[in-house]
Symmetry: C2
Subunit: 249 residues, 2 copies
């Protein structure tokens, strides 16, 4: 009466720990693993950023007057605030101990995604163009392995209404990011009316369960068997434009 219908595997890969600036070809490293057709490779943004030179030397940051004032208001380090401002398109909300911004990419998140965890030294920003990074890595891995894959660059973010951080997809290549299932049939044969699934965000959360947040050292996760449609999805497909967002107007 009950039976297994599908099985998806989520495989966490251990890599050497990088301090940043290493001359490493990440795609070659990942391609050492026996990749299969349809695998989705989720990579933590921290790793991408470190390898792309996204760690800023604290000594080189000179906080502006605006950064110093905002640092006082929020209890944050003025140098960190300067980087947050540099990475922001817009300040969305400021409070006693937080700064929520819209980043230049369009992500609404705390501190423009600027972070000091899991960094050897310095202040880390988000990858400059995560969709491009995902595409580059996907093409390299496909060339090296001869398999067709999807690549997601993931981050962890907080959100309104609910506590705690969850994984999201900031860069996507090779698969759908937003899966429009409108018009498909439900269990009783009626058309689904409004179902758009943020499948790449769900895959990023899925990978996050295996990656962890602390010293697990698992920055790359392979999702096997998810049957997500191949396609030209982008991380930016998941961004709700400000003018369409009732919680920003």
């Amino acid at each position: 009466m009950i039976k297994e219908k599908r099985k998806v595997e989520v495989i966490g890969l251990e890599l050497p720990i990088f301090k940043g600036g290493e001359q490493i070809n990440l795609s070659e490293l990942i391609a050492q693993y026996p990749i299969e057709d349809g695998d989705i490779i989720v990579i933590a943004e921290t790793l991408i950023s470190k390898l792309e030179g996204g760690v800023i030397d604290r000594d080189k940051i000179i906080p502006s007057k605006e950064a110093i004032e905002l640092a006082k208001k929020t209890g944050k380090d003025p140098k960190v605030v300067q980087v947050i401002l540099d990475e922001a398109k817009e300040i969305v909300k400021v409070g006693k101990n937080f700064i929520i911004t819209e980043t230049k990419h369009g992500f609404v998140c705390a501190n423009s995604g600027v972070d000091e965890s899991n960094i050897y030294k310095g202040i880390k920003i988000l990858p400059k163009n995560p969709d491009e990074s995902a595409e580059k890595i996907r093409k390299e891995i496909e060339k090296l392995t001869g398999k067709r894959v999807g690549v997601i660059i993931s981050d962890s973010v907080g959100r309104p209404f609910r506590k705690g951080a969850v994984g999201i997809a900031i860069g996507v290549s090779g698969i759908l990011a937003l899966w429009d299932r409108k018009g498909e049939k439900d269990l009783f044969g009626r058309e689904l009316k409004t179902t758009e699934v943020a499948i790449a965000d769900e895959l990023a959360s899925m990978a996050n369960v295996v990656m962890g947040e602390a010293d697990e050292g698992i920055p790359v996760v392979i999702i096997r068997g998810a049957n997500v449609p191949f396609g030209n999805g982008k991380g930016r497909d998941l961004i709700r434009p400000k003018e369409e967002d009732v919680f920003r107007n």
Copy 2:
């Protein structure tokens, strides 16, 4: 140089399709599957609601004046709007084609979670007390199998800032829901400062990838190997109280 460190399996179980009101013992059905210690069993709220009598007969709904007005304003069916109002603690935002409410449980979502998809007939509400339902099922499955498990009741919701729906945990039992990792060490031995992970939401998104939204008929998913700490987590742990939410004040 690259090696497998962890593997998590996400197993989708096929069940008979229920129309609602069947005399089915869901726990006995799930316990037919060879459950293992540490398995996390994610169950779609639709299934729970149907089995708990959460499908309302349209003929029994008489829309109030308020419901009729709100239906005009939003282009919705007045009977559906009446149920949305009955399930709401507060109306959060209303627009041309949407009603966002806080449900009596405290979830902020579209239409109080009221739904007509995957229902044979009628209008379906969310389970009345998903934490209690999760606990009841967990205890029954543990008794039937002799294994220690976690249970999550999942829903799909939209959110601010980002497009598309993702899985969330509305009921939790047996594991942590919000995992506080503050004080743990990062890769370079420094303490994590602020990391609270909405692990039950991530597990619900993980299960959603396997469940699908349409006619997949996979309302129950087993997550095996996730190593989430056992604990007394609740779905309500994940609700950010209105007074702490900068996007509601």
